[in-house]
């Protein structure tokens, strides 16, 4: 139990802070609210990361980065780096 708590990053702060796709646990889904980085946003938008679309973290690469994100109801998978996923903000 103690081990589990230590590995969870700052539980109080995380609950208050806005979450991004990077903070999702494997298997967890969220809805895109906005994209932070304007330049990155253009590419993400073209690839279908549009506000309102559901995004699910389906897995991470063996070294924790990049991530595999499954987008929308029409199910297709994007591979993004953790730093890029951090710009995809989720709705509360």
């Amino acid at each position: 139990m103690a081990l589990f708590r230590r590995s969870a990053p700052k539980p109080v702060a995380a609950a208050n802070a806005r979450r991004s796709a990077q903070d999702l646990r494997v298997g967890e889904a969220g809805t895109i609210c906005c994209l932070e980085d304007p330049e990155m946003a253009l590419k993400l938008l073209e690839m279908g990361c549009v506000p309102g679309v559901q995004v699910r973290l389906s897995g991470r690469a063996p070294l924790g980065d990049p991530l595999m994100l499954v987008l929308g109801d029409q199910e297709y998978t994007l591979s993004v780096r953790a730093s890029e996923a951090a710009t995809i903000m989720l709705k509360e």
């Binding site: 994209l35 304007p38 330049e39 990155m40 946003a41 253009l42 590419k43 993400l44 938008l45 073209e46 690839m47 279908g48 549009v50 506000p51 389906s58 897995g59 690469a61 063996p62 070294l63 924790g64 980065d65 990049p66 595999m68 929308g72 109801d73 029409q74 199910e75 297709y76 998978t77 994007l78 591979s79 993004v80 780096r81 890029e84």
Partner: protein
């Protein structure tokens, strides 16, 4: 299609009657939307690969027989997600579509759309429609969509978009016939407008539109967005647009984002009316389950290593059989000709042309296998997973996961590998990848490695399971790999990043490779190699033969007569010498060899080799190797051809393999010339040296600057010299 193709003359005549020129149609679509399959289905073997003007992006064009009497020129454009290019590959598309007056401007476009992923595919389609291009929508992958429970109301969608829609499955050719019929009808109906520039933008947009006399507002908006990258605009024109954008305070990024979101909103409305999704099953897609195995934290890497191992096995073991056949075939042909005909022209043919040709043809099995292998990995969708697995590992070296594909392709040939680096969006990542790729041991080094390793490494088992020669080969490859990574790391420290690196990429769904596509890739690569590299190699072989057979003035004759004079001194009379020669045939043979050697040493090539000998003596090389280094400067595979030419000039035709010739070579003290120190020094030299004109040329074309190829040449040659020096001095 086969029936119509079999009578090209009739088709030609029919086409010329149909009009002044065939219809020109561009194929465009998202990556993985089946565009390549459609292109192959439409054109078959009637395609040619060229370059887009100004850049070395493959420009595939082909001819499709639409109806028995009508043909069309098809241009296959690189896959893209939108008309706002992010990589070099995509820029080609806008260059083509922005300028209506260009020769290549298409009459209409066929947009391939993935039916199982309509929303994102339609983004590109609506942009094309708003540019005012007549379009046909090829709704591909209908089977996948149906399996996902996606039902598309085609007549309603046709009404909404205003263009003909052809449902199809390009993989197995379903719908191709219908598409051809529609394409044959020379379309001019425009798609329904999806999005118009905002009122506030109009003053600026209109000024650009009237200044350049463009046919619509949206195109003018694209000029405002991308004027910096449009190749056909002059500096003055760019300055004019820049002034306008500043005057009207135009925020390109915000506008582009707003446009994309507005388009998605409109597309959502359309899809709401035309598409119903009935979830037939909630079962997880097969691809995800395969991914769980192939990208597993341990298993993923093991499988990747296993696939690499299989690749090496294919290149080294399986390719050996057809290579032996080619080798035997060529030398058999050569021997037959030499037995039956004589004269300098015949020697030119056999020792020059045929030897050179053999050096080209022998590579075909390896090149075919390697490109076939890479094509299968690409086709199945596995390459994208390799990129995913390797990204984090590559980043410390200044490379990205996308560099892995060029680096692996570099094992085949650096030329297509460097071209493959085009998919890397980040400038810095791309430059580093291009710079270090030639350090990966390409297939042209294989013959050099094989010959020299076989010469000095015994064919013995090591540690039970490995073969000592195999271990030596593996070490050479690893040396290449680690030098590439190390150089990349150093370059990362040196280069200043001008932009950020992206890694956003779609995972294609796993699928069986389309063998037709694989076959076409192999065919095109082999053809390009034989025609392009082949010309150079044969030309150099012939030139070399001439240089090695003839010398300046009569130096050769003088050297030979001097040699004979020396020999004659020991005999009382010419008759005594003749008698001695008759009794001792081996002496006569030795004499003949010495004469040949003297001739070679005093030939043009020999003079040349002597000239550079002081520079390469510290590496353990003599003038003969000097000749080989010089000739293989253009292409390293020439090395083996050269030494086999040099050592075969004057040697017995039945002297057997190159290896026997090399082991027979003696130094001044009568000891075997190719000592381990010399051979390893040469091997290491070839691991690092930039001995390839084609690579330098392609680096120049891809970077559009001489700085990069020059830096590559100086760096790699320097590294090779230093490493070979160390190896020879240590092992000597």
């Amino acid at each position: 299609m086969a029936a119509t193709l079999s009578n090209p003359a009739a088709a030609e005549a029919a086409a010329s009657q149909a009009g002044p020129r065939p219809v020109r149609i561009a194929l465009i679509g998202n990556p993985n939307s089946g565009k390549t399959s459609l292109f192959n289905q439409l054109t078959g073997l009637n395609q040619k690969v060229g370059n887009f003007p100004g850049v070395t992006v493959d420009r595939k064009t082909g001819v499709a027989q639409l109806t028995p009497g009508q043909r069309a020129e098809i241009i296959d454009l690189p896959g893209t997600y939108s008309l706002y290019p992010k990589s070099l590959d995509e820029k080609v598309i806008t260059d083509l579509l922005y300028d209506k007056t260009t020769d290549n401007y298409p009459d209409f476009v066929v947009v391939t759309v993935d039916a199982s992923n309509l929303r994102r595919s339609l983004l590109l389609f609506t942009q094309l429609g708003d540019l005012g291009l007549p379009a046909v929508l090829a709704l591909n992958m209908m089977d996948v969509a149906e399996r996902h429970g996606v039902n598309i109301d085609l007549p309603a969608l046709e009404r909404e978009l205003g263009v003909p829609i052809i449902p199809m499955n390009a993989r197995n050719g379903i719908g191709i016939a219908a598409l051809k019929i529609v394409m044959a009808q020379r379309l001019d109906t425009l798609p329904v407008r999806c999005w118009e520039p905002d009122e506030k933008l109009l003053p600026m947009v209109r000024q650009i539109r009237y200044y350049f006399d463009l046919h619509n507002d949206y195109l003018a908006l694209h000029y405002a967005q991308q004027y910096r990258q449009i190749s056909f605009l002059s500096a003055d024109e760019k300055a004019h647009i820049q002034e306008l954008t500043q005057q009207y305070d135009f925020d390109a990024t915000a506008q582009q984002a707003a446009e994309t979101i507005a388009r998605y909103a409109r597309i959502n409305e359309i899809l709401l009316e035309t598409v119903t999704v009935t979830r037939t099953e909630q079962r997880e897609p097969v691809s995800n389950r395969i991914d769980r195995v192939l990208t597993h934290r341990v298993g993923g890497y093991l499988i990747f290593l296993g696939i690499l191992f299989l690749l090496f096995q294919a290149i080294f073991a399986w390719a050996q059989y057809p290579m032996d056949w080619i080798d035997q075939g060529i030398s058999g042909l050569s021997a037959t000709i030499q037995d039956n005909f004589h004269g300098p022209l015949i020697r030119l043919l056999t020792e020059g042309v045929l030897a050179g040709l053999g050096g080209v043809l022998i590579f075909i099995p390896q090149i075919a296998l390697l490109f076939g292998f890479l094509a299968v990995l690409e086709e199945t969708g596995y390459m994208a997973r390799v990129t995913f697995l390797m990204d984090k590992l590559m980043r410390p070296f200044g490379l990205s996961g996308k560099s892995v594909v060029p680096l692996i392709s570099g094992l085949a040939c650096a030329v297509p590998a460097i071209m493959g680096a085009r998919t890397i969006e980040s400038w810095k990542d791309r430059m580093i990848t291009i710079f270090v790729t030639p350090l990966m041991s390409c297939s042209a080094r294989i013959p050099v490695y094989t010959v020299l390793v076989a010469l000095v490494v015994p064919d013995r088992a090591a540690w039970g399971i490995f073969n000592l020669r195999g271990v030596a080969l593996m070490t050479l490859y690893l040396l290449g790999l680690f030098s590439a990574l190390g150089s990349a790391w150093a370059l990362k420290k040196l280069l200043k990043a001008r932009e950020r690196s992206y890694f956003i990429m779609e995972f294609p769904v796993y699928q069986w490779p389309r063998w037709k596509n694989v076959g076409l890739t192999i065919y095109q690569k082999v053809q390009a190699f034989v025609l392009q590299a082949g010309k150079v190699i044969v030309a150099i072989s012939v030139l070399l033969w001439v240089l090695a057979s003839y010398g300046p003035g009569n130096r050769q004759d003088e050297a030979v007569s001097q040699l004979i004079m020396q020999q004659n001194i020991g005999f009382s009379s010419p008759e005594a010498m003749a008698r001695y020669n008759k009794e001792h045939p081996e002496y006569q043979e030795d004499m003949a060899r010495r004469v040949a050697s003297a001739r070679l040493e005093n030939s043009y090539a020999g003079t040349f080799g002597h000239l550079i000998e002081p520079a390469i003596r510290p590496l353990g090389y003599d003038w003969k190797i000097g000749i080989a280094l010089l000739t293989s400067f253009a292409a390293r595979e020439v090395f083996v051809g050269t030494i086999s030419t040099i050592y075969s000039v004057g040697q017995d035709a039945d002297m057997g393999t190159l290896q026997q010739k090399l082991s027979a070579e003696r130094d001044d003290a009568g000891q075997p010339f190719f000592t381990p120190a010399r051979a390893f020094s040469l091997l290491v030299f070839y691991v690092f040296a930039m001995q390839c004109m084609s690579t330098l040329a392609v680096t120049y074309r891809e970077t559009k600057s001489w700085r990069w190829p020059l830096a590559q040449l100086v760096y790699m040659t320097g590294l090779a010299y230093a490493a070979a020096f160390v190896v020879y001095q240590v092992l000597k």
